[in-house]
């Protein structure tokens, strides 16, 4: 049993680029999924019944499907359904965004819904318009509740980017496993892959803890 850890160093450029892709996937997906999540949450909270039902169906659907299946489905079905030829990267983003938007929508909806009605009433009793009351009283409180959950979703998303490796997006998992296949240094490459995820993910997890402590809600 001999190990050759130099293979990791030899491929550090490829690994670095792959890590960058992972980060890019995460950032791009969140950039899409936060505004879209707000839209869907608003539909669920305020739109008329048919739109509300569609929004709810969307959220329930994507919360009850494995992400890896959504990735495959996006890869095989989207081109046929939409006549677009998307790159694996774009397909990966599409699948991830569809998934995370649903979770975000639920987070936003629950966050806003958790603010007691009395707060809105007290604001309106003082003569504020509904818009003013929501903007100055409800939303600031909702944001405090939403932020920790959003941070947690971010970390999950970061890990889930590994799943788009199955459609050959050149992120960390895919590239690491390619190198493993080429060099046959299985233990070294897989351990390196795990280590890189750990090095990036561990601080993020700790950051989420800090955010949750700081924004802990005391009634």
């Amino acid at each position: 049993m001999n190990f050759d850890w130099s293979v990791v160093g030899a491929h550090r450029d490829a690994l670095a680029a792959a890590t960058g892709t992972t980060v890019l996937l995460t950032v791009t997906t969140m950039a899409i999924a936060v505004p879209c999540g707000i839209v869907v949450a608003s539909l669920r909270l305020y739109a008329w019944a048919p739109l509300r039902a569609i929004a709810t169906a969307y959220v329930e659907l994507f919360r009850n499907l494995p992400l890896i299946l959504v990735v495959y489905w996006a890869f095989y079905v989207l081109p046929i359904a939409t006549d677009l030829r998307l790159s694996p990267f774009a397909t990966g983003i599409a699948a991830l965004a569809l998934n995370v938007t649903a979770y975000n929508a639920e987070t936003f909806r629950a966050g806003i819904g958790s603010i007691r009605r009395g707060q809105l009433e007290a604001a309106m009793a003082l003569g504020m318009s509904r818009t003013q009351a929501v903007r100055r009283i409800v939303l600031p409180q909702a944001v405090r509740r939403i932020l920790p959950v959003l941070a947690s979703t971010w970390v999950s998303l970061f890990k889930d980017t590994s799943l788009v490796s199955v459609i050959a997006v050149t992120e960390l998992a895919y590239v690491a496993m390619q190198i493993r296949a080429q060099t046959f240094r299985v233990l070294e490459m897989l351990t390196a892959m795990a280590a890189i995820y750990w090095l990036l993910g561990y601080p993020q997890a700790k950051l989420v803890d800090w955010i949750q402590r700081r924004y802990a809600v005391t009634e």
Binding site: L69, W73, Y76, M193, Y197, A205
Partner: protein, 221 residues
Amino acid sequence: MTFDLSVITDHWRFLAYGIGVTVALAAASGAASLALGFVVALARLFGPRWAKHAVVLYIDSMRAVPVLVVMVWTFFALPILTGLTMRPFAAALIGLTVHLAAYAAEIYRAGIESVRPGQTRASLALGMSRAQILRRIVLPQALVRMLPAFGSLLSVTIKDTAIASVIAVPELMRQSETLAGQSFQPIEVYSFAMLAYFLILFPVTRGVDRLYRHVAHLGRS
């Protein structure tokens, strides 16, 4: 574009086998992670200092590393280290369990810590031992509070079994991949897979909601 369902009906046994493996893997890793998670939680709450640190490191690591990576490493790398050969199902089971147990441990811990200290004080005043208090007073209340989180974890467990397809475990995702590839009918096959997963998962999440509403009052102190 026509929807040709015959590919599903012709190979229903193949797909049903996949569903069976999915359920088996979910149940086995679910049960195992509940057990392991409990031990880990106890170690964190009541164990010696070094155990607490080890546990926190373990839990945070599982929060940092994707399930895919854990499963792949368990299947390909662990055998090299240990010299044992590993079957895909076993590797998936071990990988999933180790990953999920970390989350289960956190749920146990949060649940136990959320029971008011007054409950423990009252029990001590009555002369109960710590073990008795945990078993008869704190855990029953805590378990009720943990239900929603565990329900959520069960949902995640079922969804994560699909990742085992990457290490060739013949669960539903893998079977669907194989069938889609051979039949050149990915739309029908993957749509079926989506329907199947949804029909399995949706009742689980709804059922947990219902169950919790039923027993929520038992957990309030």
